[in-house]
Symmetry: C2
Subunit: 395 residues, 2 copies
């Protein structure tokens, strides 16, 4: 569903390969609020550095996104290239350069082909439309096999607002703040502080809770936009009557996009939900969940539908929770109790494990029985195709 | 080379599969010193718990090792099973049960077949010989494709001592204290405190510096034995004239075994040395090295001989060194300078990267330029065969 106040235009700029959409320009109505979270990878990409700087300096009017080249590991030349692209977009949009946010995704440590991007911009401008979200989702794909877009309506006090988002990502997925390029926009009116809270809440329960391969990207960026075009009173705090409904809609769109990334994970054949419950802190729950989600041995067992579930115990024990009492841990595969009292559950039968492992969507539930915290992480299996895709990525 | 005072006997006990050596008994001369380090996985195996307890209570006379079953994730029944095996071995050897150390490796969360182990013990005893190290190395293999044994001589003040060791391991390799079953013995006379120093030094620079898949096992154990049968004065401190030579021999045997594990890593086709230099602390050097060694994207690039070296930058940036100045980092592939000043080195050419990536032994050198610490980690690539091996492990 379109978001009033946001227009999108795409083009084939030939950045890496000819004949595919690889450039996206989003323009925002004057007065839109924008908030963003970015990768914590120290080799963060040039566009991430420039986007952070521009976001800090004022109100963005445009977002420029290219695929095919990450402009990361490119030093000072990369920064200069990102700025040139912003300059060119700003001239066409009619705003200052610092009101353009740049985003890139693709191969690392190759210089950005600035002239091709600049040459492709007029076509983006000519293509600008409010109902262009689907084509925009296609234009930001790299190893993604499907475009990723989600939309929700939120019933607010002053009427109905729309929340629509797109994302890309299939590999190098273990976001530390957000994931490889997600853009979510609403036409609700939201003040900057409240927008930042909505963003942090959604990131923490969506993009920051997924992993395909444990590799945190250099280019992760998640941007939330509120144009205010739907009218109504400004949502300026969690106390505002519209805040809760909008938070839910933003979270649903963000979780939908994050889960779509995992489902489209490189080589993924299974979608795994890892719930860790009754921990002392969210952090230790997340550590246990990621230890499972990142274990190649667990992931290959899922790929093979083999209930080699001792590997799950090894991953739990390997999560760095030094004072964990393993005798209190319960492990479930869907509804099947697999392990308790430090060993195999007496009622567990191999055929039950086999039955669950054969499914394409599986929930691993770990009950630590030492506190009240809980968290959920989404991940996928590790298959032959993962190796194939990543051996051939640049060819 | 045999170690005077150590005898080894193997048997086919049919623990998991028939017709293969899967049980090893080592007996030590009275008066031998023994030191050990063990996994920090919280789901540590029953034999690890019993071995630690027995080691703390006195001087071991025997080590009992089975393959085919890890006796991990087996709760109280697992502890009881390990004790029964020690009891049976102690009766045959003629010592107290607490002077037997048990070790197991194999599938997790399945009960140990105690009766088969007990039934196999007399054959082990009948087979006890000092020149049995090679057969012992075979008897402890699981997914290993080759037996792993190394030997060195150390010239000490009082004569020449021998250091001989065996190890097993190919997957679930990211030792936190030691790796899946390594036993190193010398006939030099070494006091308990000095032996512990030799063990810690060797572990820190060998088994604790390798990774195949980042999964820390439930059963990792590294034991160092000194029988004293070579004679000479007791090596009781680093100040003793024989200490340095013996330390070097123990380290060489341990590194040789550790590197053999990596070379035999599941599906491995390449041997990768990751050197991180000029860091502030050993810990941050190790974090950077392991971030590279654990990245599935880096490992698949090595598997494909593809110089997609931006993935190395992403892994360095992803190592959790929050104040790392990436503009100071230099990255070398063998002697080729790939990256500096935050980007690609001006002189770097793709064909140089391709040439190095095509080799079967490659050194990745990262110079952080922020201190004096350095460390080295050994790892391997991630290939289709890794997925195949781990999908079929139990079948």
């Amino acid at each position: 569903m379109l978001v009033r106040g946001v227009k999108l235009g795409v083009a084939e700029a030939g950045i890496r390969k000819a004949g595919r959409k690889d450039l996206l320009l989003m323009t925002l109505a004057e007065g839109a609020s924008v908030s963003g979270v970015f990768t914590q990878n120290r080799f963060c990409a040039a566009p991430v550095q420039v986007a952070k700087e521009h976001l800090a300096s004022g109100f963005p009017r445009a977002l420029l996104v290219n695929t095919g080249n990450a402009n990361a590991g490119t030093g000072e030349a990369g920064i200069a290239g990102a700025r040139e692209c912003c300059d060119a977009a700003a001239r066409l949009v009619g705003c200052e350069s610092r009101r353009v946010l740049p985003f890139s995704t693709g191969v690392i440590m190759e210089l950005l082909p600035v002239e091709r991007i600049v040459a492709g911009l007029p076509a983006c401008v000519a293509d600008l439309r409010e109902d262009n979200w689907t084509r925009a989702a296609e234009a930001i794909m790299t190893t993604d096999s499907v475009p990723k877009a989600r939309s929700q309506r939120a019933r607010l006090a002053g009427g109905v607002a729309t929340v629509t988002g797109i994302a890309k990502g299939a590999g190098m997925i273990r976001p530390d703040m957000a994931t490889l390029l997600a853009f979510v926009a609403t036409d609700a009116p939201v003040a900057q502080g409240a927008l930042r809270q909505l963003l942090a809440d959604a990131a923490g329960r969506s993009f920051n809770r997924i992993s395909v391969d444990g590799d945190t990207s250099t280019n992760d960026s998640f941007v939330l936009i509120a144009t205010g075009a739907s009218g109504g009173t400004m949502i300026d705090s969690p106390g505002h009557p519209g805040f809760a409904a909008l938070r839910e809609a933003v979270l649903e769109v963000s979780q939908g996009l994050a889960q779509a990334i995992v489902r489209d994970g490189e080589g993924a054949t299974k979608f795994i939900t890892v719930c860790v419950e009754k921990g002392r802190t969210d952090t230790e729950c997340a550590n246990v969940a990621y230890s499972i989600a990142h274990s190649p041995l667990v992931k290959t067992a899922f790929s093979a539908s083999d209930p080699n579930l001792g590997r799950l115990l090894a991953a739990i024990g390997n999560a760095g929770v030094r004072d964990l009492e393993v005798g209190r841990v319960e492990l479930y595969l869907d509804e099947v109790l697999v392990s308790k009292d430090g060993g195999r559950a007496p009622a567990y039968r191999e055929e039950d494990g086999k039955r669950v492992m054969a499914k394409s969507e599986i929930t691993v539930r770990v009950v630590l029985n030492r506190g009240l915290a809980a968290t959920t992480v989404w991940t996928c299996d590790l298959s032959h195709d993962y190796v194939t895709i990543n051996a051939q990525y640049r060819t």
